[in-house]
Structure formats: structure tokens, C-alpha cells
């Protein structure tokens, strides 16, 4: 009797383990099933591509913030950094025939304006990292400061107005597509693969996990924590810059008000995807699934004509449920 009982409970436990381990995947699949029943247009290929394209910018920020959270940090500035990168890059990418260019007569190769956007993001990250690693300011506070300041600089730089009239080459990374796949999705995929490789197949990546797993032990193991922390925030900032490029190209103008609250969606995606605030735990693919869950909810509720107000409530509830399930997994 004991034997049969324990064998039964063992397989039961196995099943439970599998369910818990891949809980977020099941949540995503569950949402897809429910939505495809509720709204026939949900499963249309074009709609599915839309879903992914809509999360591409949040996905970029989420990948950055995943690395930050694995190291036990946090970055609240990513949305503002995105806006700053957006206006700076756009100001270098205005078409020569545009009526009111910011820099009349300036004509730069498009790659240079891309570089400028990413560099601005990386610079903000460098400042964050230096404040955190050098001055030992808690990441929450340092990046809260950057969130406010970067937004202010974006508004000053653009005079509070959109910077429009961008060249077609610039807009291509937001609006173009290859073999029917929109460029933003390709950018996200490439960055995700690169970030995954970075986390799992480079010294830097393993150092990030070690730092998050036990900072003291990492220090005694000879890791240069100052350098690692600075690089982590530079990485997140650069991705926010890239997100700014993609978003500006998509809407055809640089805007200082872009990305407000985007960092919170990014953090939500990372956390839904299993990244632990206690540090040392998190994966890129998990974060992508987290971002997809958010995207599917947004899209599905739109299709079902749920009001934007109610959408926020639904999103909040689903985030919390996802975390509860994840929390049980780690017990």
C-alpha cells in the first residue's frame, strides 16, 4: 500500500514539477487558446505578427532590464533614456528637403544617427553604472534620478516638440520588412539571441549571475564588480537607445514623450518571465515569453473591444497571478 501510494504521489509530483517549471508557457498558451476562441481574427497571421511587432520595443528594454535584475539591480530610467535617444537620433536623421530641420544642411550617413542614438543610451547607462558602482547609490535611487533627468534633457533638446521629417533609410528599421517579417521583430530576435549568448557563453554573463547569486562570494572569487556593474547598466542603456531608434523609425519622428512607463512594462515582462528580484535567476527566453504575454493581453483585449481602462486592470491582475505561480515554483 505504501509502495503504490508513494509511486502515485511521485508521478503526481513530477507532473506538478513540469507544470510549475513551464508555468508561464502554459499561461501564454492558455491565453492564446482563450483569445482565439473569443475572437476569430486573433489567430490570423497578420495579427500574430502585429502582436510580436508591438512588443518589439518593450522586448528590447526587457532584455536589458533582465540582465540588470539578475544582478540584483533595477533600472527605472529605460523609458526616459529611450526618449532621449529617440530625439537625438532623429535630429541627425532629418531629410534635407524637410521644412524645419534642427541642423540645416546637416546630412549624415544613417548609420551615424543610429550610432548616436545607441551611444546616448549607453552614456546614460554609464552614468547609472558609475553612480551605482562608484558612489554606491542604490540602483533604485540612481536610476530614478536618471529617469527624471533624461526625460528633462530630451524635452530641452527637442524644445518639447517632435522631430519629424526623417529619411526613408532611417524609417526603414521601424517600417521595413524582410520576407514579410517586420524589421523590429528581426532586431528583437537578433538582440535576444546575442543577449542569451552573452549571458550563458561569456565570462561577463556568468559574472552577472555570480554577482546576483552572492555578491560577497563573487568579490572573494576575484570578480571586478565595479566593472561588471557599470557594463550591466551600459548594456541596458544601449538597448533602450536601440529601442528609441526602432520606435522613432516606426512612427517617423523623434519624440521627447515616448516610452513613458515603458520601463515598468519591461520590468513586468522580465518578472513574469521568471527573473527573480533576489538575483541570480532569469533567462532571456523567459523574458520574451513574459513580453509576449503582455503583448497578447493588449492585443486580445483590443480585439474584444475591452476599454483601455479595463485593460489596465486585467493586465495588473494577470501580472500578479503570474508572479504568484512563479513564486510557488521557487519554493
Amino acid at each position: 500500500m505504501t509502495g503504490a501510494g508513494s509511486a502515485g504521489s511521485l508521478t503526481g509530483e513530477r507532473l506538478g514539477e513540469v507544470l510549475r517549471k513551464y508555468a508561464i508557457i502554459f499561461i501564454l498558451l492558455g491565453l492564446v487558446v482563450v483569445l482565439s476562441i473569443a475572437s476569430p481574427s486573433f489567430l490570423q497571421p497578420q495579427n500574430l505578427i502585429n502582436v510580436v511587432r508591438q512588443i518589439s520595443v518593450i522586448g528590447l528594454l526587457a532584455i536589458g532590464v533582465t540582465v540588470v535584475i539578475i544582478s540584483t539591480g533595477i533600472d527605472l530610467s529605460l523609458g526616459s533614456v529611450l526618449a532621449l535617444a529617440s530625439v537625438v537620433a532623429a535630429s541627425f536623421a532629418q531629410a534635407p528637403d524637410w521644412a524645419r530641420p534642427m541642423y540645416p544642411g546637416l546630412q549624415l550617413p544613417v548609420l551615424l544617427s543610429f550610432g548616436a542614438g545607441i551611444a546616448v543610451g549607453a552614456l546614460c547607462g554609464l552614468i547609472n553604472g558609475a553612480l551605482i558602482a562608484g558612489f554606491r547609490i542604490p540602483p533604485f535611487i540612481a536610476t530614478l534620478g536618471m529617469m527624471t533627468a533624461a526625460r528633462g534633457v530630451a524635452l530641452i533638446y527637442s524644445n518639447g516638440r517632435p522631430i519629424s521629417g526623417l529619411t526613408d533609410e532611417f524609417n526603414y528599421i521601424g517600417q521595413g520588412s524582410v520576407l514579410g517579417i517586420p524589421i523590429p521583430i528581426i532586431v528583437l530576435a537578433v538582440v535576444a539571441i546575442a543577449a542569451h549568448l552573452m549571458l550563458h557563453n561569456t565570462r561577463f554573463g556568468r559574472h552577472v549571475y555570480a554577482l546576483g547569486g552572492n555578491e560577497q562570494a563573487a568579490r572573494v572569487s576575484g570578480l571586478n564588480l565595479t566593472r561588471i556593474k557599470i557594463l550591466i547598466y551600459v548594456f541596458a542603456g544601449a538597448l533602450a537607445g536601440l529601442g528609441g531608434l526602432v520606435l522613432s523609425a516606426r512612427i517617423g519622428s523623434g519624440q521627447p514623450t515616448l516610452g513613458q512607463g515603458a520601463e515598468l512594462d519591461a520590468i513586468a515582462a522580465a518578472v513574469i518571465g521568471g527573473t527573480s528580484f533576489a538575483g541570480g535567476i532569469g533567462t532571456i527566453w523567459g523574458t520574451l515569453v513574459g513580453a509576449l504575454i503582455i503583448g497578447v493581453i493588449n492585443n486580445g483585449l483590443d480585439l474584444l473591444n475591452v476599454s483601455p481602462f479595463s485593460q489596465q486592470v486585467v493586465k495588473g491582475v494577470i501580472i500578479v497571478i503570474a508572479i504568484i505561480i512563479d513564486e510557488r515554483k521557487n519554493r
Binding site: L197, R206, A210, G213, N214
Partner: protein, 502 residues
Amino acid sequence: MADEFLLRMEGISKSFPGVLALDDVHLEVRPGTVHALMGENGAGKSTLMKVLIGIYQADAGTITFRGSPVQIPDTAHALRLGISMIHQELSPVPEMTVAENIYLGREPTNRLGLIDKRRMYADTRELMAKWDIHLNPRVVMKRLSVAQTQMVEIAKAISYDARLIIMDEPTSALSEREVDHLHGMISSLRGSGVSIIYITHKMDEVFKISDYVTVFRDGKHVSTLPAAELDRQRLIALMVGRELTHMFPKESAEVGEVVMSVRGLTRKGLVKDVSFDLRRGEILGLAGLMGAGRTEVLEGIFGVAPIDAGEILIRGKKVTINSPSDAIDHGLGMLTEDRKRTGIMGVLSVRDNITIASLQRFSHFGLLRKRQMDAASRRERDALAIKTPSIHQLIKLLSGGNQQKVLVSRWLLTTPEILMIDEPTRGIDVGAKAEIHRLMSNLAADGKAILMVSSELPEILGMSDRVLVMHEGRITGEFSRADATQEKIMHAATGNPAVAAA
């Protein structure tokens, strides 16, 4: 008959995914006795105690306390029944005072429902006076030493007026004198009819204070005997299931040239003018009481903490060490005292923990060679007999002894010449202890120089070729292996130079 035992646990089983932690075990505790619970780590002692205080729920079995069957769903219920526990890992709230910690969750309140601070502090003072603990109730916990924190935890456990107090390795952080103090407290608790379940790895304590001894092995109850019917060899044999002939197997290795010299090392208020040489093939023991400054010496050498004066010479050349990574570059490695806090990265795998200090050697054109990392980790696992189902297992799921072996391999992969090991076997069971000792002995034979800090005198005497003794930041004694005795070391450690020199 129901009155014969205070506590009776019968047929208790508990399994975790993949592990049967407790297999139909029983435990009976008589009122007013000290009952030692012995067994290697992973034997099931802590699990059984966690079942008893309601942290875990047993899969099967019954608990009878004070004559009636009980269900214990949580620790609050256990406390109400009169069962309290001092945990091995202390968990005070660092920003709160001693009194606030003792009365956490049951603060005395006045008629308005506000905390009656005056009564809380008065009660704490009374408690401290009654048990002869010299601590100010208003001191914030984070200002206390580990030993003082331990005393507060003990006072807290007693303050619940428990009928049964479980102590899980309560003396691992205490000095000799504090241990005596604790043992005195235990005797008077026993005198007033309280029973103690005492988990320890220290043999001497068992024979000194316990009335009964229960031995667990691999989740099973092995035997329960009156302490008077046991001796050391027999007890160890029961625990490991085999006769243990060499507890401290340091074999004589050829001691060679000086590889590291420390000259006048000083850290303000912690370490004063410490100088010594460390030789190839040598195990140099650093003895002393808690707070003598031994760990602080290692931290100073390894660049974990800045030094105020002094120099370090590696193979005769003066070196500057500002960080652990400098130290590693000069061929040093260090295993810290507190495995959990500064050693393991709990949520990472065994492999990641082994390779983290030496990733450079696995990195080719910026990418890590996973297969080489796996192979190196498996080699280490086999060489050191690390017991783990896989190198991808999370290290926090391993026993203390196996975690320690993982940390040793972490450093071996950096190919150090000098290995500093702080409390190599703290909280490690007897079997694994012997393995760690054999490992250290082999490392010395391979020509590594080992600087070992230990608070266990048998370990110091058994393992060291030479012993340095520290007291209040200074070196107060140096003995060769042949000269060293417990008495001489204790004299030097308590700052009695006249006898130490004799």
C-alpha cells in the same frame, strides 16, 4: 505510561522531490533531560526538527506531546504548545534592539494597544539577569558579534517558557567560555524540568551535557542510548556506519622554501603587527578564540579589506594586493568562514560555482567553452568525491560538506600556490570532515602552502605542521607540531604569555 515521555514522534516519514529525507523514524524525549541528536549532515536531524516545530508537514506519522496527540501546522502553534527552537542560521532583525528581537511578534502592549516599551525592556533586563547574560537590551542587533547574537537567540527561546527547546548547533560560533555558560544554562533548564534536544557535531559536548543520544543515518533512526553507555569511537561508528580510525590524517609532507611572508600586518583595532612565514608543503594553523583577529588577517592578505600597515612578500618579492583579483593573480586562494554568506552562490549550479573564479581559462575568443567547463567540473567532482546527482544541480541543495568541496575545487581550478582556509569544517558532518582533512593533507603533499584558521583544537593539533596563536589581534604563541598541546594553545589564546612561553 503516557507520562513517561514528554515527546513522542512515531513513524515519521517525509520526502522531498527525489529524496526520502525521513524514513519511518521515531524519537522519544523524557521530561527534564538533554537529548543529543547526532548524525552526518543529511541524516535527517534538521528535517525531523522542522517537522516538530511545524516548518515541514510530515507525510506520515504521529506526534504526541505531553500525553496528547498534536498536529503542528506552523511554528506559532509549536510555540503555544511549548516547543521552541534555536536555529543554526540565526535570523535577527539587524536594525532592531535586543529586546525588540526577543519580543518580536508578542510585544507587550498597554491599554491603548501601543507597545509598552518600558515593560518590554524591563522584562528583557530581568531575563538577561536571570540567565547571567551581559547584554544591554537597547543595543541594536547589528552591533553584536555572532556569539552575542547567539546568546540573544538562546535567551529568546527560553523566554517562551517552553517545555522543550531544540538547539541546532548552538555552539558553533561560541568561544570556550560562552560554551560553558550555555552548558550551565542548559543544566539549570533541565533542573527546572525543561527538556532539550541538542543537535551538534561536537563529540565532547555530547558526553559533557547529554543524558540520551539518538543517532540518525541517511534518514533512518539508528539507535537511542543513554550517553553513559557510549564512548567516542562507538558513537562515531554509529554515525558513519564504519569505524573511523584517522580523524585527522595530516601526513608529513616535505616542507620546502618560504612562499609567502607577512610582515607587520596591521588593521586598526583588529590586527596588530602580525608577521609570519608560510612554506611550501606546510599547513600553518592559526588558532585563537572568536574575535582574536584571525579571519581579519586572512582578509587583509587577500585584499578583501584594506590594511593600515604591513607588507606581503610572495617568494621574496613585495607585492601589492588591493583586491581579491590581485591576490588570485599572485597565486592565492581563500575559502571563507561563512560558506553561505560569502562562499556559495546558492541559486547557481555546481558547475557555475566551481568555474566562476577561473572562467578565463575556458574563454576562447570571448566565448566560453561549455563542454570544457562541464568536463573540468566533472573531473573535480570525481577527484574530490563531491556527492551531487549532476554538475547542473543547484549548489544550495547539496550538504555542507559537499558545498565545501565545491568551493575547494573552485580554488583549485585557479591553480593557487597558497590556499587560505577559514574554518575548513565548520558545520560539516564527521564523514565529510575526514574527507576535507584528507584533501588538505593531499594538497600540502602536492606542494601547496596552506594557512588554516580553525576554532577546533583537535583540528588545529591534528592538521597543522606549525601553529600560530592569536589573541586580541596579536600573535601570542607559536608551536611546532610536536610541541603543541591543547593547554599551551589555550593559554596563548587567552593572553597568558608567561605560561605560553614556558
